[in-house]
Amino acid sequence: MRFPKLPNLGLGDRIPSHQELERMEKEEAGDRPKWDNKTQYMLTCVGFCVGLGNVWRFPYLCQSHGGGAFMIPFLILLVLEGIPLLHLEFAIGQRLRSGSVGVWTAINPYLTGVGIASLLVSFLVGMYYNTIIAWVMWYFFNSFQNPLPWSQCPVNANLTDLVSECTRSSPVDYFWYRDTLNTSTSIGDSGGLQWWMVLCLLCAWLLLYVCCLRGIATTGKAVYVTSTLPYVVLTIFLIRGLTLKGSLDGIKFLFTPDLNELMNPSTWLDAGAQVFYSFSLAFGGLISFSSYNSVHNNCEQDAVIISIINGFTSVYSATVIYSIIGFRATERFDDCLEGNILALLNAFNLAEGSIKEGNYAESLQNLNGTFPETIQSLDLKTCDLQTFLSQGVEGTGLAFIVFTEAITKMPVSPLWSILFFIMLFCLGLSTMFGSIEGTVVPLQDLNIFPKRWPKEAITGIVCLVSFVIALIFAQSSGNYWLALFDSFAGSIPLLVIAFCEMIAVVYIYGIDRFNKDIEFMIGHKPNLFWQVTWRFVSPLIVLVIFVFYFVTKVSSNVTYIAWNPSSEDFPTLEVLEYPAWIYVIIFILAGVPSLVVPGTAIFKLIRRCCSNKNVYGAEVDTVSAKVQIQSSKFKN
């Protein structure tokens, strides 16, 4: 019984047959790049998947959705959603031997839009992701001094007191919002370019260019460092973290399971979204990378291994992060308590050491009984370790505020700071390799640039254009723009693309044909698990996540948080509404890539109807495919 599929004319003419693949394999034909060895391929894929999200999004989700209990939805969705999608992308890339535009055009010319959407998303996400790397580099450059610049408040202009914005918030907040971003009070207030940020951005893009210059020939070498160094640093931090006071409290807090959270649908949604984004699916980079493999590479095994590594890295880095957060929370708690004790000693002129942490509560009670007004006037803070632990921060707040504060309290701070930011840098850079691959290869396939232009030139142009547009993020309001890009460019379009990918492979390419291809490539037909997940389970999960995301975003008031020293609740961030013109930008970010999918199909339909040209002809416009056909022409 054949699985139902949509009619698809001329598929056989557009894709290389199994015999042609065997021939290409034997002759090692063409100018198509190849991996030097399997290790490079695996490290590149691991590097692309493992990114900043593993370090600063997963620990927060884990802690806020019931600790150890979060592992259950995470692992279930990893198996049902992550692994099948990963295997699908690997297999289709390896079979059709082309980048994202080439693959989807080969399956059906009306599906070119999926590839173009991948291109746009890779481009937009790459722009803001590299800005985060620029921020990491700024902190890295500033780590080569003792004491670290974010460990104390600077003195004001006439040397009378510390800067008030800093004393009211904290040195780390001040360094992040003022010295690094010089943030304005709203997204509309651009505030001009910050020269030091422009320099860091330039450095980030140049470094990316030098690594991606020749495509996988250069990135393949770079990943030996960028994919392995984070694990080394994480281990160093784990060992260091476990020797610090309070680290075990943090780890316990992270993993304490709260099974009630499993009843909450948002737990499952967040787990699904995290698995999806963590695997860097739908960017087109993974399809491209696996197309450089030999035809008989075992993509099924690769998908499983990389998924396991990705899941393990998430859990491992969560442990490390929370051991350090536990240390910071304990330090904060101790400082808070010490401050209170000092206030009491000073107010009542009691001898030092008469009130300690142990008898603090009862001493306070005694004093409150006899001198309530004095106690009131002291304005003592409530010190609760759980509150400090659950100051769950994620994203840039975790890396640049919470973690940097923890580092200042460790001995030999500059060393830990340098290690931490090198790790973040490597994590980000290896993800950027996939982004650039997902941008450059489709551009080549679409023949946007003349064919004789070398890859170096195309990569250079992509980096240059991205750098120029990314100067938005170097303004005073850059942080708000980045949050905007992060919420909209990197969320909804990816879900749309992934859903279309699965429908395209299962129903338009044909799951039966796909099964035969995999049997040809790896020697055995995919088993029942893959069949069920590819046909029903994974598309359903992606659809559900998309619907919920879409509904939440559309129905909620779109707001953002801003740093405003003159607001009432300072240092709490102010919640502001986006101005009306932002909705245009949101549409460009989220709507355009999503609408390109049907848009291109309609465009091609109109063109076909108007010119009566045969769209299903044997002309395959992609550079990557053409190279093979030409080479087979010469070798008679």
């Binding site: 080569f144 040397l159 330039l202 020749r214 250069t218 030092e352």
Partner: protein, 220 residues
């Protein structure tokens, strides 16, 4: 006799007068707070009358240094309201007239001038030997000529630029080498094609140069 009674009265009255001068919240006095355990931990010494005497001596030294008058003495520093926190109040009397107090502002100037010496005398710091109301002057920030981050930035970007140029040059050289190799092959192909085709027909023989018309033009 009268003189003797007066003398007795002075002896009794002086400390009482001193007590009136020095009291809690005295308008010309300062409160001092000392945190020995915070500063020295295990090595903290005991705060006793001898230490109080030492404090008086240090303050007298500070007053001498500031006013450049050698007449200040330990008796001019009056201490009171001692607590177990270790905190106390002190006032400074003028050496010429023991009933007159030195104004607060002058005392502050004297303390500021010799703050470092006073701190070191007691092995304490600005934070652990507090004169409530006299804020420590903040250390002037050290401003290096080039911010350290620019140096690291310069190193990184220099290395990256060198890397880019090296890779681009090697790509260019590789391409030129390939082109050179290809044009040599191409020439052979061209010759083959020229030899084999005549009038558009592919001939399978080798071109016999013997039949070329070298002398097309008649010689003179």
């Amino acid at each position: 006799m009268l003189v003797w009674i007066l003398f007795l009265l002075c002896q009794v009255g002086a400390p009482a007068l001193a007590q009136d001068l020095c009291q809690r919240d005295a308008p010309n006095g300062y409160k001092v707070r000392i945190s020995l355990k915070t500063a020295l931990g295990e090595d903290a010494y005991e705060w006793n009358q001898s230490e109080m005497f030492f404090f008086q001596a240090t303050m007298a030294f500070a007053m001498r240094r500031h006013f450049q008058m050698e007449t200040y003495n330990v008796d001019n520093i009056i201490l009171c309201v001692q607590t177990s926190r270790v905190s106390f109040w002190f006032v400074v009397t003028s050496p010429d007239n023991t009933t007159m107090l030195i104004p607060k502002a002058d005392v502050e100037k004297a303390v500021r001038m010799s703050r470092h010496r006073i701190n070191n005398a007691f092995l304490l710091s600005d934070r652990t030997l507090e004169f409530l109301g006299i804020y420590p002057t903040l250390a002037a920030p050290v401003n290096p000529d080039t911010p350290p981050w620019l140096i690291v930035f310069g190193v990184v970007i220099g290395a990256v630029c060198v890397g880019i140029i090296a890779l681009l040059i090697s790509s260019l050289l590789q391409k030129r080498r390939k082109e050179k190799g290809m044009t040599e092959d191409g020439q052979d192909e061209e010759d083959m094609q020229v030899k084999g085709v005549e009038n558009g027909i592919n001939l399978d023989g080798t071109y016999n140069r013997g039949f070329t018309d070298d002398d097309r033009f008649t010689k003179l």
